[in-house]
Structure formats: structure tokens, C-alpha cells
């Protein structure tokens, strides 16, 4: 983009313009996707709880988020007395900026990235882990003990979960031999058993662990101890309202998509469908091919986000000590073991055997998925449960 712009304007200006364009695109994507995700979350929670969810605004209630947004923008923006005004005001922006910065290094397709970084994966982890600052500041500056509890819990939780998350990211990176997300995704082109999740048993497990840990580090249920409305009112969000409150949600949904995108780039082949015998960019030309790739990538990321929502509405929340115990006593040793295991695998496993394992894993996964879907389809809603909601 810079090159094409540079034909018309000076180089520096071109770079600034490109940067602004990228920022606008990313911001637009975050905003739109958050609107859609909030709608989806309400719909999914409704379905899971055997109700309809939003139906009034727009078709299927699609505009519900917009209506909510208008309400939030017009709400009074106030700061509690006794709060540290400066910190209270900037906390949401700190949280949002961190999530936003993550998208700078997230490639949506081959070369479709705001700033191609050689250490993309590392950078992504780094900025996502600084999101905790906003929460911590919000909790501290609210001058409210529930907020403070929420903030401190969040700090402890995120700092702890960051370790197994980084270790699990290292597992595919060990195979790829680079930190460049673009390159990692390109290495997984072709059929879907080339995805790193099917590379060997360790990456398969690493993907599972990474997904759980990433959920936790986005402070999503069942790990949402920072809000924990049954214990802490609303945690660090207690004193917030209006736009500032919505920035926290923007940040949350953005980082959900960011970690899902990271997962799909590292484990699930990035923008590769895994089912096409050709490259869309080669077949359909750069513009349309890249659009297809972007679509595939967003679909994969969104599917993972939907799984996160599914988890939120199906699983009960853990206690804070259980959360910490799960991380430090289980995830941390397991991820260390996985890292060692994948190194040993890379060093000593013969090529042929590795190929076989990959196919077996992939086929087994597909079969398992089909079995789950079929058995889920055969399940009927429990009459007692549905009855409980219909009858007064």
C-alpha cells in the first residue's frame, strides 16, 4: 500500500496515510465485529437457556447492539467521589488500546496486516498481556473495594495465565522455526492435516490448552473472576457506565477475537481453508483471492469466539483459588511437558511416522466432530426443563 501511495505523495506522508488507513480499518473491524458478537452472544445465551434472545430491533434483533450503543453513548459519564479521577478516566482506554494494538500484528490474509512484524506472535502476546493494566487501574481508581478486589484478582489471574499461554504458543513456534505469523500461516497451506494442530499429539493438546488458557486470559467465563457478579457486584466495572463501560467491552470482544485469530494462525492453518486444492490468491487474482482468505480467517476466528460463548453459557464459574490452582498446578506443568515433548518429537521422530500421525489425528478429529454433532442433533430438549420456563 505504501508503495502505491508513494507514487502520488512523499514517502513519509504515504506511510502516515497508510498507518491511518490501517488504524481505521482495524478500528472499524473491531467495532463491527463487537456489535455482531454482542448480538451473537445474546442470541446464543438465549438459545442455550431455551429462550429467543433479542428479536425486536431489526431482523432477528440484529440492530440490538446499535440500540444499546446509542443508549450507552447518551448515558451520563460520571466519576465517583473519592476516585482518582485521572486514572479512572484513562483506564478504559488503556484496556482498549492494548487489545487494539494486538490487531496491528495480526495478519488477516497473506500480507494483509497493518504492520508485518518478524516477531508477530511474540508482539501479540506482549500487547494482549498489557490489557490487564486497564482492568487493574479501573479496579484501583474506583475507590470501591469490590472494584479493587476485581482488579487485583484480574492481575493475579492474567499474570499467571500468561505463562502457560506463552508456553503453548511456543509449541507450534518450535515447529515453524519463526515468530512471523505470516510465515507460520503460510507453512500450513494445503490439506487440513497440514495444520499444526494435527502436526503431532503435543500440538493437538497444546491447542486445547491454549484455547482454555486464552479464554481465561480474556477473563471470559468460566474464568471471569474479575467481574464475578455473584461475589463482587460487577468487579472492576462496578463504578463504570456509559462510553467508558462500553470501551471495556470493546476491549474484551476485541481480545477474544485476537486470541482466536492467533489460535487459528498458529494451529488451524490461518486463512487456509484446508479443503481447497489450490490457493485462492493464485486462482482468483490478488484482490478477490485475498478477500476469500480474509473471509476464511474471520470465519475461523469467529467460530472460535462462538465456542468461547458456548463455554460461557454452559459451564459454571470457578472459584478464584480453583482458577489459580488450575493454572499453576495443571496448565503450567502440562504446557512445559508439551514444549519438551514437541522438541523431542521434532528431533527424533522419523518423517514418515510423523506424516502418519498427522493424518490419523486429523481424521480422528473430524470423525469425533461428526459424532458429537450427530449425537447433539439427536438430543431433544428435556421436557422438564423447557416446561419449567413455559409454565408460570
Amino acid at each position: 500500500m505504501v508503495e502505491s501511495l508513494a507514487e502520488y505523495v512523499p514517502q513519509s506522508l504515504a506511510m502516515i496515510l497508510a498507518a491511518l488507513a490501517a488504524a481505521g480499518l482495524v478500528f472499524g473491524f473491531i467495532g463491527t465485529s463487537t456489535f455482531l458478537f454482542i448480538w451473537a452472544e445474546r442470541k446464543i445465551s438465549g438459545r442455550i437457556q431455551d429462550r429467543l434472545g433479542p428479536t425486536r430491533v431489526g431482523k432477528f434483533g440484529l440492530l440490538q447492539s446499535l440500540a444499546d450503543g446509542i443508549k450507552l453513548v447518551t448515558k451520563e459519564d460520571f466519576v465517583p467521589t473519592g476516585a482518582d479521577r485521572l486514572l479512572f478516566r484513562i483506564a478504559p482506554y488503556v484496556a482498549f488500546c492494548a487489545s487494539f494494538a494486538g490487531f496491528i500484528a495480526l495478519p488477516f490474509a497473506e500480507g494483509v496486516v497493518a504492520q508485518p512484524l518478524n516477531v508477530g506472535a511474540f508482539f501479540l502476546l506482549a500487547v494482549l498481556s498489557s490489557e490487564v493494566f486497564g482492568v487493574l487501574l479501573a479496579g484501583y481508581s474506583s475507590a470501591n473495594k469490590w472494584s479493587l478486589f476485581g482488579g487485583v484478582r484480574e492481575a493475579a489471574q492474567v499474570v499467571s495465565y500468561e505463562v502457560p499461554r506463552s508456553l503453548c504458543v511456543l509449541v507450534p513456534i518450535c515447529i515453524a522455526g519463526t515468530l512471523n505469523l505470516n510465515t507460520i500461516a503460510r507453512q500450513q497451506e494445503g490439506w487440513f492435516w497440514n495444520w499444526y494442530v494435527f502436526h503431532d499429539p503435543f500440538t493437538f493438546l497444546a491447542f486445547v490448552i491454549f484455547f482454555i488458557v486464552a479464554t481465561a486470559s480474556c477473563k471470559r467465563a468460566p474464568f471471569d473472576l474479575a467481574e464475578a457478579e455473584s461475589e463482587l457486584v460487577a468487579g472492576f466495572l462496578t463504578e463504570y457506565s456509559g462510553m467508558r463501560w462500553s470501551y471495556f467491552f470493546l476491549a474484551e470482544y476485541a481480545s477474544m477475537f485476537a486470541v482466536s485469530g492467533l489460535a487459528s494462525l498458529l494451529f488451524l492453518g490461518g486463512w487456509h481453508t484446508g479443503l481447497l486444492p489450490f490457493e485462492p490468491a493464485e486462482r482468483f487474482g490478488p484482490l478477490f483471492g485475498n478477500l476469500v482468505d480474509v473471509g476464511v480467517f474471520i470465519t475461523k476466528g469467529s467460530l472460535l469466539v462462538l465456542v468461547m460463548m458456548w463455554m460461557r453459557w454452559s459451564l459454571p464459574r470457578l472459584r478464584i483459588d480453583q482458577v489459580m490452582l488450575t493454572c499453576l498446578k495443571y496448565f503450567l506443568p502440562i504446557s512445559c511437558g508439551l514444549l519438551i515433548g514437541v522438541c523431542v518429537w521434532q528431533l527424533y521422530m522419523p518423517k514418515v511416522l510423523a506424516e502418519g500421525v498427522r493424518v490419523v489425528l486429523a481424521v480422528g478429529f473430524v470423525v469425533a466432530a461428526i459424532v458429537v454433532v450427530l449425537s447433539a442433533a439427536r438430543l431433544k430438549p428435556s421436557p422438564q426443563l423447557s416446561g419449567a420456563f413455559t409454565k408460570p
Binding site: 513519509s12 482518582d84 516477531v119 506482549a126 498489557s130 493494566f133 487501574l137 492481575a155 499474570v159 500468561e162
Partner: protein, 168 residues
């Protein structure tokens, strides 16, 4: 007057301003927030210099780890809300003059260095850096590893919950 220089000026202003903020803030958490901006600014300075790996390391270790710890510690050790420990003006003057003296000396030394060869090209990425850590600089790497282990154990020991004397 190129883009690099503009970006540097912006970043340097951010870093310097927030460093001043760190010093002048009365409450500890506010200092920490200014420190956060300083550190992020320094991280972006590394990106500007082309040391991407270092910048990311700075972010993940300093911002995501160390600073969270510091804020955590600050929160745990403030007895009341927004606890403030005031410093006497005389001390400010004394310390300020010493710091100013050091700054002046350092600047004069920097200026004395004069014109240096400009950029030596791209900074080696994580690959050469990792190789360096496992070959020529293996000893410092191992020392740091052992050091970290010692710190891990030592900090856990120091901060462990102590039983009150007399209780079982």
C-alpha cells in the same frame, strides 16, 4: 526532517514527560501509570530502532510482568486509599541539583562524542540473537537462568505467608 526524526521526537517527548510524571506524582499508583507510559514509549523506541524482538520483550516482561508486580505491590502496601508520603522541599532541591548535575555531565559527554557513523543497517533479528545466546554468550545466558531460579526460590521464600508466633 524525516519521518524517523518526527517519530523519535514524539516518542522522546512522551518518554520524557511521563518520566517526569513518575518523579512528580505523589501517589504510587499514579507513578506506576506514568512508568507504564515510559516503558511503552521505550518499547516503541526499540521498534523505531528496528529491534523488534527487544521491543516485544520489553512489553511482555516489563509491562506485562514487572510493572503489574510493582502496581500489585503498591496496592498491597498502601495502608489507606491514595496514601501519600511527602518529601521535604529541601530534599527536592538537593536531589534535583544532583540529578541535574549528572544530566548535564552526561549530555556534555554525549555531545562530545560528536558525529558518529550513521545507522549500521538492520539490527539482527531473533534468530541470530538466539544463536548468540547459545554460542558466544552462553555463559551470561546460563548465569541469568540460574539467577532467575534463585530469584524464584528466594522471592517465594521471602514472601511466603509466615505463621504468627504462638499459633500452631
Amino acid at each position: 526532517m524525516n519521518l524517523d526524526f518526527v517519530l523519535f521526537t514524539i516518542l522522546a517527548t512522551l518518554i520524557a514527560a511521563s518520566a517526569v510524571g513518575v518523579v512528580s506524582s505523589a501517589t504510587i499508583v499514579r507513578s506506576a501509570v506514568f512508568l507504564l507510559f515510559t516503558l511503552i514509549g521505550v518499547a516503541f523506541l526499540y521498534f523505531l530502532l528496528g529491534a523488534e524482538f527487544l521491543g516485544a520483550t520489553q512489553l511482555i516482561v516489563y509491562v506485562g510482568g514487572t510493572l503489574v508486580l510493582v502496581v500489585f505491590g503498591g496496592m498491597l502496601t498502601t495502608a489507606g486509599p491514595f496514601n501519600v508520603l511527602r518529601t521535604k522541599t529541601a530534599e527536592w532541591v538537593l536531589s534535583g541539583s544532583v540529578a541535574a548535575g549528572v544530566f548535564a555531565l552526561l549530555v556534555s559527554i554525549s555531545l562530545q562524542l560528536g558525529a558518529r557513523p550513521t545507522s549500521t543497517g538492520d539490527i539482527p533479528g531473533p534468530g541470530p540473537l538466539g544463536m548468540a545466546f547459545l554460542t558466544t554468550h552462553l555463559l551470561p545466558f546460563e548465569i541469568v537462568s540460574v539467577h532467575l531460579l534463585v530469584v524464584l526460590i528466594g522471592a517465594a521464600y521471602l514472601a511466603r505467608a509466615k505463621k504468627k508466633a504462638g499459633s500452631p
